[in-house]
């Protein structure tokens, strides 16, 4: 495997509505500096992958409306590296499409698919894990995923069961999407379950072969474009054919069906930054256990709060525990952390009552 055989696809089409009002359909989570580090989440993700993958081999999969945001935030890439979906589909169609484009350029390519909006602190460990997976995938016809060692019985994640008998890279026995609490607890007890972080590694030949076997129609649909991919004709072809693809996830379309799926337990801490609460968990806390991004706070009898404003805003809070306090120019949210899953509903109500521009 040459250095130039390594490719990456960053999935950046999501909206992150549980992070409203920061994250909106106009300006989703991955384009925000959620942690106040100076870089947005997609910039962090790009840099992390760029340790292994050459700049020109990193593609961004996103919705057409975020095209300009991507190019603004990642000025080092070219227009051609932003692959936009003309219609909202799940992950399988866009991964197949990107894989075929890459395969046409370089049939020896190995590639990683990674979400744009997760947090990984230890970049060295990530790079090390990723390189091991690249090597494994270059050598064998396998589909790989990086699994996260679970720390508690989270019912919001997918779980990957692996074969205990094997070493280092483990054969996957089963995927389970969002189990109930009792099931999640039993998974942790059994010890051979990992969280599915949506990070996949494979060679283009292995993934296209798997599509050929398990998603014949979709493969037929997209292979018709092989002549025009990476040419001027590509855009027209995609506009015309993409909307015909099934709305289906890569997990369901391929990984739950294929028999050559392997997992490498990740050697790094990971946070999906799925909710304000998970962001709170990730951030450093003040003496009073408040997590503060950008604001300058004066807290009295107030702890466990997640506070975010524009830079340097003064926030005085008295008597609030475990709240999400998020202030944007046009929206102020003061909401209990324990109800964070309901923020989607709040967003729905706000847009119904006051207009779509707030969502």
């Amino acid at each position: 495997m040459r250095q130039t055989d390594k490719y990456a696809i960053i999935m950046a089409g999501g909206v992150g509505s549980r992070f409203w009002p920061m994250s909106t359909s106009e300006f989703p989570k991955q384009f925000h500096d959620m942690l106040g580090t100076g870089d947005t989440l997609i910039q962090h993700t790009f840099k992390r992958l760029n340790h292994s993958v050459p700049t020109e081999n990193i593609y961004i999969l996103t919705n057409e409306r975020y095209d300009q945001l991507v190019l603004e935030q990642l000025p080092e890439i070219s227009k051609e590296q932003v692959i936009t979906e003309p219609a909202m589909r799940n992950t399988a169609p866009c991964i197949l499409y990107a894989s075929l484009k890459i395969q046409k350029q370089n049939p020896n390519a190995v590639m990683v698919v990674a979400p744009s909006d997760h947090w990984i602190e230890d970049e060295a460990a990530f790079t090390d894990n990723l390189e091991q997976c690249f090597t494994a995938c270059a050598e064998s016809d396998i589909l790989m995923t990086l699994g996260i060692t679970p720390t508690f019985a989270n019912t919001g994640y997918g779980y990957i069961q692996y074969d205990k008998s094997e070493e280092v890279v483990k054969k996957v026995m089963q995927f389970t999407e969002k189990p109930d609490y009792a099931t999640a607890k039993s998974f942790l007890k059994q010890g051979n379950y990992l969280w599915n972080a949506g990070i996949f590694i494979w060679s283009v030949s292995s993934i296209t072969a798997a599509f050929e076997e398990y998603q014949k129609d979709m493969t037929h649909l997209f292979k018709k474009g092989n002549l025009v991919y990476n040419t001027e004709g590509e855009a027209d072809f995609i506009t015309q054919h993409y909307p015909k693809a099934d709305n289906i996830s890569i997990d369901y379309a391929i990984l739950e069906k294929a028999t050559n799926v392997y997992v490498k337990p990740a050697g790094f801490d990971w946070n999906d930054l799925g909710t304000w609460g998970s962001l709170y968990d990730k951030l450093d806390k003040t003496e009073e256990s408040n997590a503060v991004v950008n604001a300058r706070v004066l807290c009295e009898d107030a702890c466990g709060n997640m506070i975010r404003t524009k830079a340097n805003k003064i926030v005085v809070v008295d008597g609030l525990q475990d709240y999400i306090i998020v202030d944007k120019d046009e929206v102020l949210l003061i909401y209990p952390k324990k109800k964070e899953q309901d923020i989607k509903q709040v967003l729905k109500k706000v847009t119904e009552e006051y207009g779509a521009e707030f969502g």
Copy 2:
């Protein structure tokens, strides 16, 4: 008494720090549209007085730094109608100074002194009361005040005891500043006590005579300016002599001493808008008993809150009762209404910690 004999002095030098963060020393309460009516408090006050007093006879007493704010908000007045104090003093010096200026213009003047930042809903009743007082003061050598019928044993106000035996305009027996709760309760029970709203009416001849009798030094100090008042020499004289005046209130300097003080029980509802809580009391409430200025709210399990933002900001609040929620560009306050008296201390802490520009 001719129409042109009526004068008014609007007291507009205060800071209103319990209304922080809306009210700041840079931009105090009286210059804000606290109720979201479209007019600022000083504009309301001006219009209310202007029903009785000719525009050119209304003076604004304020601090030098609010000079421009006054002229912007009251474009109908001339520069000469803004009387600025070169040093912070209590009410007695500036009232004497203004009275001498007016007396020099019109020895037959009767005048009303009124705070710029109180709320009076019923302007017709106010005008009617004021006209009665003007007439009484034009006819007799008396000092008058409009007293507010107390609705509860408020310990933050001054009380005026009057002689029960008299009619309509009642002789004042005693002023009591901020009594304790038991005393305030006994006042209400006795029935001949009114709240001191700081609205005074008198002829210039009566008030200057009272100063002559009870504040000899101050009168001597300011009478030295009689030759230059309303001329080019006034500013220099005031800059030089004003700082020498005692820091003393009109209540203490004159009203508690004079024997010709009368009170007219006011026929209108009044609110001193002294705190966020008193503003809450004044405002219309939503179904959930929240008082909302400018914001568009989505409240769940949230009642009794005073919510104020810039125009049309979306505010989502869940689970908060009896809070003050005030959002300004650079400051967000989330504070229990029951602790509203502590907002002065909060302001102090914020300016100490983050800089005077926030106060």
